[in-house]
Symmetry: C2
Subunit: 136 residues, 2 copies
């Protein structure tokens, strides 16, 4: 799993969960994560596309959770971040001559799908609310 993007998204969502009704600007969020505000806005854009957050433009604008933190599962965040990669197929082109080479991608895909299913089940056991409550 792409640790960086998942971590950033979870960090963002944790801040929003704790902010409640208050909107947070990309600058405030970026300060906590210590990354560039534009990256935050990009991740927010993705999370928005997945329906997890909403944003208000203009002065005093910012972002907030689009549904209660108890209804957001960590698996949702994983999926939001990995949506793209899941579709992207591997670029390696093993030999079509070799019996292993020509079948390996199919078998790897099958294996990865199973692993991912397990991983999602595991992540679905924790909600954003539960995660955010850890911070006291």
């Amino acid at each position: 799993m792409n640790n960086t993007r998942f971590s950033v998204s979870l960090h963002i969502l944790t801040l929003l969960a704790r902010a409640g009704d208050e909107l947070l600007s990309s600058e405030q969020i970026a300060a906590s994560i210590n990354i560039n505000p534009v990256l935050v806005r990009k991740e927010l854009g993705n999370l928005r596309k997945q329906g997890l957050v909403a944003s208000r433009e203009g002065k005093n604008g910012g972002s907030y959770l689009n549904k209660p933190a108890r209804d957001i599962y960590l698996s949702d965040i994983y999926l939001a971040v990995h949506q793209q990669e899941l579709l992207a197929k591997s670029k390696n082109k093993p030999s079509t001559q070799c019996p292993v080479g020509k079948q390996i991608n199919a078998h790897l895909t099958h294996l990865y799908n199973n692993v991912e299913k397990t991983l999602l089940t595991q992540l679905a056991k924790t909600t954003l609310r539960k995660f955010a409550l850890q911070f006291g």
Copy 2:
């Protein structure tokens, strides 16, 4: 999980499992994967360090499994590949001012450790023998 290296290692080991007593050269393996032989030798070096394969230098040299394929679990391969990363800590430095920023790494680490444990359990359910047999 770093798909590329895991895929390469599993590919290598599958070839070796099917080769039985016959040694395979890095060139033969590279041809099946369609990557550079030096990368194969690097991965073999790592797998050797983990005790999964052994190699013989010199003419007619090559590599072979260091234990029966039925005693190699896919989790062993995962661990062999990720040994380094597991130790490498994240380079992101969140704000120490923010209550979320200053604790997030600890919580993320805890979460990732749990996820990884699950993942290993899942991978431990399949042996290299079983995986290799799929290729008929």
